[in-house]
């Protein structure tokens, strides 16, 4: 395959996959929503879940984006240094977004800051967002795709606590966000929490936490325990679907962490809405791909 053909092939796959994720929710999200739906017993929560599942079916049937806010496209790539398209990757991701925007169609969600105009094609300066993790001595590439909707970006928050505030401070930081903004972000939510040293390290981790499959746990025992405590605590607040009341508020709480400076605890929270449009696709050096997030996707 010539470079040009390879680039076109990967662009087409990513474009089709991004479009697909706007219409079909990932397997883990569907399974979790099905579980939460069966555990709610109030008629209002039941009706809201019925509407959500009807929408999931209709989106599939009519091949239309399930939510009108198809978000800003964000990619987290784990790219091997030996991946043949490493040099072309960032440009081809942008091209793939342009393609998906006209084909699916996706909403035009890129507004240039300061000049304040909508670019009209869903890409702009730094949009799509691409975060790189370089993997030495590997020739494959993994791509996480994410549609960041307006409503579910709003609760996002990061700050640096003093160690005296402790993990108790982390708890309050997360919990306060749930009742102030979380309830308008279309619960049940997936909550990502970063615990690190400065604002940006914590913030980045809180986003990466959303990429973890629902049901996975932090490998540190205490962190995993805190995930469970926060999950139970936020559920007990009783936000329910759409924040209108119910037994469950979240699909899960994921914490990602690093070491910290002795004088700081960087903490951040990021939420995904029930319509969690994230995808995970993996390429080998010959551009054979496997999709980890959605069973139904084919080219």
């Amino acid at each position: 395959m010539s470079k040009e053909i390879q680039v076109k092939k990967m662009t087409d796959i990513i474009a089709a996959f991004v479009g697909y994720t706007g219409i079909h929710l990932p397997d883990d999200v569907l399974a979790k929503l099905t579980e939460l739906r069966s555990k709610e017993d109030s008629p209002m929560a039941g009706l809201i879940y019925d509407t959500m599942f009807r929408n999931i079916e209709l989106a599939k049937e009519l091949d239309r984006p399930s939510c009108q806010d198809t978000g800003v496209l964000q990619f987290w790539v784990k790219c091997g240094t030996g991946f043949p398209l490493i040099n072309e990757l960032e440009a081809l991701l942008k091209e793939a977004v342009l393609q998906a925007t006209s084909e699916t169609p996706l909403r035009h969600n890129a507004v240039e800051t300061f000049d304040e105009y909508n670019t009209g094609n869903n890409v702009g300066k730094g949009i799509p967002t691409v975060w790189w993790d370089i993997v030495p001595n590997w020739d494959g590439c993994e791509v996480y795709t994410y549609m960041a909707g307006g409503g579910c970006m709003l609760p996002g928050h990061a700050m640096v606590l003093m160690p005296g505030e402790g993990y108790e401070g982390v708890t309050r930081f997360v919990m306060d966000r749930m009742t102030s903004y979380g309830l308008n972000a279309c619960p049940p939510l997936l909550v990502g929490v970063g615990v690190a040293t400065s604002v940006e390290t914590a913030a980045m981790l809180s986003k990466k936490a959303l990429m973890r499959p629902i049901g996975s746990h932090n490998e540190n025992e205490r962190a995993a325990r805190m995930e469970k405590l926060l999950e139970d605590g936020i559920n007990a607040i009783g936000l329910g679907p759409q924040g209108m009341g119910g037994k469950y508020s979240v699909m899960g709480v994921h914490i990602e962490n690093t070491a910290r400076h002795p004088s700081t605890i960087g903490v951040a929270v990021n939420v995904g809405c029930w319509s969690l449009r994230r995808g995970h696709i993996m390429f080998d050096k010959d551009l054979n791909f496997k999709v980890a997030s959605h069973t139904g996707f084919t080219m």
């Binding site: 209002m44 929408n55 399930s66 939510c67 009108q68 708890t171 805190m226």
Partner: protein
């Protein structure tokens, strides 16, 4: 007009203040008839600039939403996808807006506050939410786009007047009797939040 069909409460435009009397927060209703999208810029034009809204919404319904519209021909449009936007952004305009326009039903996402509660009580109006993220369910309730005005505001902000059939489900969040579902819920949520924080904090004293 309010009718009950297969145990569904359906409000059909034109709607009178009388029709809203027996509707309470937490009720589930549907709307048939005229529903027009009205969001930030339309509210600002009507309330701040004093312009007359070019589509008559008296005794009808508005939707805080910016749709994806497909143009099918001259003055001929289709709603591809539509869903609610956060109603709270319209809060500061809503009292004057309801007073000025005579609208009876506001549909959006999340709660609103005292201005809207006051408007609903004084002028006979309700605020409802439609479960968000369900753009396809909402779009297929739209039978026809009957009028489009203020297109200079751009696709999301323009007035799209739709004929809808059993548009919903809508959950009443502010009624004509002064009740506000979300504000009442928030008190509950905040109380439970404090209890849960106290519980969690007993177990996370990791810094010794």
């Amino acid at each position: 007009m309010l009718e009950i069909k297969d145990s569904k409460k359906i409000l059909t435009t034109p709607i009178s203040a009388e029709d809203l009397k027996d509707i309470h927060t937490g009720d589930i209703i549907y709307i048939s008839g005229s529903l027009t999208t009205c969001r930030d810029d339309v509210h600002r034009r009507v309330v701040e600039e004093g312009l007359t809204i070019p589509i008559d919404i008296r005794d009808k319904a508005i939707f805080h939403a910016g749709p994806i519209i497909r143009t099918l021909g001259e003055d001929h449009y289709e709603v591809v996808s539509v869903g609610p936007t956060t109603s709270m952004r319209m809060e500061k305009f809503e009292y004057e807006f309801v007073k000025e326009t005579g609208v009876r039903v506001l549909v959006g996402k999340g709660g609103m506050k005292e201005n809207t509660v006051r408007a609903c009580q004084e002028f006979g109006c309700i605020h409802c939410v439609i479960p968000a993220g369900n753009a396809v369910v909402a779009a297929i309730c739209v039978e026809e786009v009957v009028d489009a005005q203020w297109l200079d505001l751009g696709m999301p902000e323009a007035l799209w007047s739709c004929r809808v059939k059993e548009f919903g489900p809508l959950i009443v969040s502010i009624d004509t009797h002064g009740s506000n579902y979300f504000e009442e819920k928030k008190i509950e949520y905040n109380k439970r939040k404090e209890e849960e924080i106290a519980k969690i904090n007993k177990e996370v004293g990791f810094i010794k």
